[in-house]
Amino acid sequence: MTAITHHIPDAMLAAYSAGSLPHHFAVAVASHVSLCPTCRVTLEAHQSVGGALLDATDGVAVSDGMKADLLAQLDAPAPNIAQYTRQGIYPRPVVEALKGQEPKWKTLGMGVRQSILSESKQGSVRLLYIPGGQAVPDHGHNGIEMTLVLQGSFSDETGQFDVGDIEIANEDLDHTPIADEGEPCICLAATDAPLRFNAFMPRLLQPIFRI
């Protein structure tokens, strides 16, 4: 595996640790951290800052009986919540979003496929599958877009992105990512707003395809 060269900006890791990133970006950050030791330790450093602040906080007395309540619960079996772990190329946050299932791909044309993992008014997370040599459909985006490579690689005006690399683009970047020749490129894409794919179909049809 080549070294990861495109990372998460520090302020974004701090925001992730504190929980202030919206869900779609938190999925992308947690996925990158799963693959990237460098960002993992930076995240751990931010956790240390949080821990130091917590430790220096003036305490507020807790209710009488709280400790006894808690001690009484220690022997109770832990609730059985599904614990997901990495599966193949997919890190845990992706597996969790897929609920442990294989992605359900929908064709977008030209061999490009997508699988929507989550979507809300705030933003969306999807997997994109782009055959080698094929361009990711030309798109503009509102707000920020994060693209994490899970398989293969792509290149655009700003550089080459290999497995584990994450591209963070704002609306000023009108880029044309092209999957490099070889195996298909599979990416996790998190966006602030629905992607507008310009090249493939009229805008009117986009709500039908949910892109």
Partner: protein
């Protein structure tokens, strides 16, 4: 169970006595399911957690519910605590932020794949101490901030600033966390090397 109970209260090992009592408690919880140590950890962290969470505007009642969940998670997930990588307060901070978000936003917060410590590995006291020393330096750096600076940093780590606001306003104490990062990287490289062998 009886055999385990008998180990309660004993120091984890002589070597670890220089290590902070929080870490000693946490290791006793992790390795011996030590209830006395859990009580000590609760007495230290529960009031701080409650105060910390209430600063975000949570009611005392809701804050206590979160504290209860956090402390229960500390007990149940103790196996994931790795003193070579995090001091106890950092580990609990992240559990608390995650739980707070789950409760307030009613969503399941995505978390990375975990890197569990190799269960058979012997504790490396010098590494644990190094992590604690870095944490001590960090605490010192935070306490020397001007009140308005500190307030912004606190807001950031309480989840009240967006990442844009964090990058423009806080001037994160990056100088102080950099040595912590170097330390973490060394350890991680060491661990990843071990995994490949």
């Amino acid at each position: 169970m009886a055999a385990m109970r008998r180990r309660e209260g004993k120091p984890v090992s002589q070597k670890k006595t220089e290590i902070s009592e929080q870490t000693v408690w946490m290791l006793a919880i992790r390795d011996n399911r030590d209830r006395a140590a859990f009580c000590a950890l609760f007495d230290h962290f529960a009031p701080r957690l409650k105060g910390f969470i209430m600063r975000t505007g949570c009611s005392a009642h809701q804050a206590e519910e979160i504290v209860q969940d956090v402390m229960l998670t500390v007990w149940r997930k103790a196996a994931m605590f790795d003193p070579h990588r995090a001091q106890v307060s950092a580990w609990i901070y992240q559990i608390a932020r995650n739980r707070h978000i789950d409760v307030v936003r009613k969503e399941n917060r995505p978390v990375p794949d975990e890197l569990a410590e190799d269960p058979g590995s012997e504790p490396d006291a010098s590494q644990i101490l190094a992590v604690e020393q870095e944490a001590g330096k960090l605490k010192q750096a935070l306490s020397s901030l001007k009140p308005e600076q500190r307030e912004i940093i606190e807001k950031a780590y309480l989840g009240e600033l967006t990442h844009q606001e964090i990058s423009t306003q806080t001037g994160l104490p990056l100088g102080t966390i950099k040595s912590r990062i170097r330390l973490g990287l060394e350890r991680l490289r060491h661990e990843l090397k071990g995994m490949r062998e």
